[in-house]
């Protein structure tokens, strides 16, 4: 497959830069400037579609992987027994217990929503990140063959799409707002932003200090996940340009990346728990 990729690389792309550029594009669906809806054929067309377009590839994989996670866990949950667990049930229980202990250690209040939330985040992001270990050309080539278009852009790793990571972090941000208002009341929440840390006479100064810190939460969440995975993907792409040297290098980078993948999923989950804990606590 890698050899195939190398051949494709030489045939289809004038330069390595173009190869990388092409692999960073998305399969975009939206409204063309002339008014009809459809897939963008080039990156320029995709850019022209503006906000009301959607990345079919990353969105699709995100949905499929999320559904895969839910289906898998639900199947195990259906046939679960309290006796000696075996096989898949063991793995699922391990994950659930791991998530639950993380929540218990970091979330001081009692909310039955936090643990399933953390589990969903961890497993979903983990699965999306794991797509990074699929050889970089495999899925795009399959998509190109299916579509019959050798210049089709197709991105299989959802977490290398800023939209997906921002979608996740903004959802968490919405939850932070909901929890803050629910636990402290709207006044309490706004008061915390306005009258902290220097009392009410320094309100503008307080706001200048607190608001960026507050707004930085979703941004840092999204950018951390995106940055790590995007960089990993980029390195895979660059390695793929190296001819036969790519075999050992791919292996080395994949092993290294194997650390990053669960770590980033774990970080996202833990930070979500910590942020929600802050949101539901009075100072």
């Amino acid at each position: 497959m890698a050899e195939n990729a190398a051949a494709t690389t030489e045939a289809a792309y004038a330069s390595g830069g173009e190869y990388v550029q092409h692999h960073l594009g998305f399969l975009t669906y939206g409204k063309h400037p002339d008014g009809h809806w459809g897939l963008a054929h080039t990156q320029e067309e995709a850019n022209d579609m503006g906000f009301w377009s959607i990345h079919v590839d990353t969105m699709g994989f995100s949905l499929v992987l999320g559904a895969l996670f839910l289906a898998l866990f639900m199947k195990v949950g259906r046939n679960i027994n309290a006796g000696v667990p075996g096989g898949l049930q063991n793995a699922v229980e391990l994950l659930v217990e791991f998530v639950q202990s993380s929540v218990k250690s970091s979330y001081s209040g009692h909310s039955p929503f936090i643990a399933p939330l953390a589990l969903s985040i961890f497993c979903w992001i983990l699965l999306m990140n794991l797509m990074d270990l699929v050889p970089v050309d495999l899925i795009p080539l399959a998509a190109q063959a299916l579509a019959g278009n050798p210049h089709l852009s197709f991105k299989a790793v959802p977490t290398t799409d800023l939209n997906i990571t921002f979608g996740l972090s903004l959802s968490v941000f919405i939850l932070i707002l909901v929890y803050s208002v629910r636990c402290k009341g709207l006044g309490g929440f706004l008061g915390e932003l306005a009258f902290h840390p220097f009392g009410k006479y320094a309100m503008p100064f307080n706001l200048v200090m607190e608001l960026p810190a507050f707004l930085a939460k979703p941004v840092s969440l999204a950018l951390r996940l995106f940055g790590n995975l995007f960089a990993g993907e980029l390195i895979f792409l660059v390695i793929a340009l190296l001819g036969y040297w790519q075999f050992p290098l791919h292996f080395v980078w994949a092993v290294f990346h194997l650390l990053v993948i669960p770590l980033q999923a774990y970080l996202f989950m833990m930070l979500t728990i910590v942020y929600l804990n802050q949101a539901s606590q009075h100072h």
Binding site: F26, T28, G30, A46, N47, M49, G50, F51, W52, S53, I54, H55, T58, M59, S62, L63, G66, A67, F69, L70, F73, M74, V76, G77, R78, I80, N81, A82, G83, V92, E93, V96, E97, Q100, P112, F113, A115, P116, L117, L119, S120, I121, W124, D161, L162, N163, I164, F166, G167, L168, L170, S171, I174
Partner: protein, 156 residues
């Protein structure tokens, strides 16, 4: 890198998945885990209790054994005492019985002796009469001399 409606799609997907997970995926798994934890805790508890029970039972068994030993020692003591008592009683009885038999025998002997003496006395009387007859060559009127003869026999 465009930001576009994928964000909104992802947010919808996020809440849908999290809601689904919270509603249908999490509860059965966590219920089972808690059930198993409870089962294990109960099991450990039961094992603890059984250990304590065993200790108590051993203690009680040891106590019972000690008590039984003390009892049996008492019983053996008593039995020994009773045995020697019975032996003593039996000896006494035997001695008494022996004395009684001896006394009976003595009485019989005495009686026999008296009878023999009586008999002998009568024989002596008859013999004396016969001797006297022989000596006197004539019959002595027995009736006339009965008192005399009887006096003679009594003096024997």
């Amino acid at each position: 890198m465009n930001l576009n409606a994928t964000i909104i799609g992802q947010i919808f997907a996020f809440f849908l998945f999290v809601w689904f997970c919270q509603k249908y995926v999490w509860p059965p798994i966590i219920a089972t885990l808690e059930a198993r934890q409870k089962k294990i805790a109960d099991g450990l508890d039961a094992a603890d209790r059984a250990g304590r029970d065993l200790e108590q039972a051993q203690q009680r068994a040891a106590d019972l054994l000690k008590e039984a030993k003390a009892n049996s020692a008492g019983i053996i003591d008593q039995a020994n005492k009773r045995a020697s008592q019975i032996l003593e009683e039996a000896k006494d009885k035997a001695r008494e019985e022996g004395n009684r038999i001896k006394a009976g025998a003595q009485a019989e002997i005495d009686q026999q002796v008296n009878q023999a003496r009586e008999h002998l006395r009568q024989q002596v009387a008859t013999l004396a009469v016969a001797g006297a007859e022989k000596i006197l060559e004539r019959s002595v009127d027995q009736n006339a001399h009965t008192d005399l003869l009887q006096k003679l026999a009594a003096s024997l």
